[in-house]
Amino acid sequence: MSRIFLKGCEAIAEAAVRSGCRFFAGYPITPQNEIPEYLSRRLPEVGGTFVQGESEVASVNMVYGAAQTGTRAMTSSSSCGISLKSEAISFCASARIPMVYANIARGGPGIGSIHPAQQDYMQATKASGNGGFRMMVFAPATVQEAVDMTYAAFDYAQRDRNPVLILADGVLGTIMEPVVLPELRSEQEVKALKDAQRDWALVGHNPADGRAFIKPGRWSTLDQEQACKDNEALYASWENDVQVEEYLVDDAQYIITAYGISGRIAKSAVNKLRAEGILVGLIRPKTVSPFPYGAIEQLDYSRVKAILDVEMSIPAQMVFDVKLAVKDRCPIHTCLRSGGEIMSREKIVEAVRALAQ
């Protein structure tokens, strides 16, 4: 398979098409504009549809509609634009509609800055809308991972009939890297994926055979409670879907926890510190939901002296999940940037050196 040179946003968009995405609606916001721009020309080439919505709100509702027909559908935005999508994402989770969306995150809160940040962790993993639903959330650290995760995201979404989020950031969205793209699914495969959902999909049924009845809400509170229980069972099943990179942790006295672009920068810091003889390792969640609590929980705390949580968010957010796993067995420190300022290897290196002294 040949490697090609692609910008992160365009790679995500192409991976979506190759996975069978045939509908995209989006609205301009930096730094994710290359996703809708790319798909506006690419989707018609494969018989798909691109719509520029009048807002993030309208765009995600178009996806909510398109996905109800069984069509693989996607939207994307950045941070404050993702907030606007929350209501419809919650509707998708309630009605169990499979769809994929990408957050090419920027600084916040509010309109924040257009530069890369990781300040949407809590929103992405804990409360992406009202009602306490959850989603699988993938956090790529390279353009290749963004491609592979986007491609797989549609399969997870369809398997679970639930939204899936790609949580990237402005660095990954705008850098160019060589990637290997997965195979483009054939039109027959894409059609088969859609037809497999025909029973529940909103495409028009003969009433005698049973109608499609999409339920983002229920008049009966007992029915709604049952739906919540069904959702809970789904979320519990993700135990087997956890993805995590554990790098040089076996003998490590210091563990860095970091996801996405911070995780990638932290890995280079680990290499530099190891050359200095400092026994440091990295735990990088690739799924931040479900979170790899086990990888952190099972560390040997007679050896591990401290954890350094590295994030591009002030205050830190993922650190709360790290704390849940550490259970007070060692000190947890943070190394943070925020607001669009990018983490540097030197800052992490200095933070670990300070711990090791």
């Binding site: 309208a58 509702n61 178009m62 909510y64 109800q68 027909t69 009605a95 028009g204 049924h205 983002p216």
Partner: protein, 245 residues
């Protein structure tokens, strides 16, 4: 004996409607059902229900249905129709849904000339939430959030959606009807049929506004509501065809 009238098969059997006495939602859904049967498209139709009293219909109808977030029905319908053009798609929205929270989605879908049908039920007030002021509430009309009546200096004037949409180039068909008399019910039925036929002919955006009553939140009985509709609502919302091409 020759059967000249029957219950539409698009209603579930043994189901009692929860619409209030004097409410016209039941009439409108019946007319839609009859048209879908006439055009033989029940088995390829999907309705996007707005939020409010019309959402009750999800329990009554026999064909494919979904519920949109409040105001977003035209965006949801855009997604369904574009992703699956063979499906006959219509939205069913009240005035708060279509003209307040969903104004951007309504205007934008109309401006793109989306090929689906909009049934817009205008009773000048929020029903399910309990009689709050709508964009269509008449000047002087009391609402639970305008207890001294709608005051133009504070609240502006009633919005006329057919007239506003008629400023756009793309829409195909815009008509305002009512269900206050048997003659007007027949006219409404014809308008609904045309709005669906346009979609089958790929002609683009069709909207039928139906001026209706809300006895419960108007604080009137069913007959008084009809009188109010004729004397107050219809002068503000004149019936007729605004666009047909």
């Amino acid at each position: 004996m020759k059967q000249v009238y029957k219950r539409t098969e698009t209603f579930q059997e043994n189901m009692v409607s929860g619409f209030c006495p004097g409410c016209m939602h039941g009439t409108v859904f019946k007319l839609i059902g009859e048209v879908l049967e006439e055009l033989n498209i029940v088995n390829r139709t999907a309705v996007v229900l707005g939020v409010g009293c019309c959402g009750l219909a999800m329990e009554y109808i026999t064909y494919d249905n979904t519920t949109s977030p409040h105001g977003r029905a035209c965006a949801v319908a855009t997604g369904i129709k574009r992703a699956n053009p063979d499906t006959v798609v219509y939205t069913y929205q009240g005035d708060g849904d279509l003209a307040a929270i969903g104004l951007a989605e309504t205007l934008s879908a109309a401006n793109r000339g989306e090929n689906f049908t909009v049934i817009f039920v205008n009773n000048g007030i929020y029903g399910m939430t309990g009689g709050q002021m709508a964009p269509t509430t008449l000047v002087g009309m009391k609402a639970t959030t305008a207890q001294n009546g709608r005051n133009p200096k504070e609240h502006g004037y009633p919005m006329h959606m057919c007239e506003i949409l008629n400023q756009l180039t793309a829409p195909t068909y815009l008509e305002r009807c009512s269900c206050n008399t048997p003659a007007n019910v027949i006219k409404t039925r014809k308008a609904i049929r045309k709005a669906f036929q346009n979609q089958l002919d790929n002609k683009g955006f069709s909207l039928v506004e139906i001026v209706t009553s809300c006895p419960t939140n108007w604080g009137l009985d069913a007959m008084e509501s009809l009188k109010f509709l004729e004397e107050k609502m219809l002068p503000e919302y004149p019936l007729g065809v605004f666009r047909d091409r």
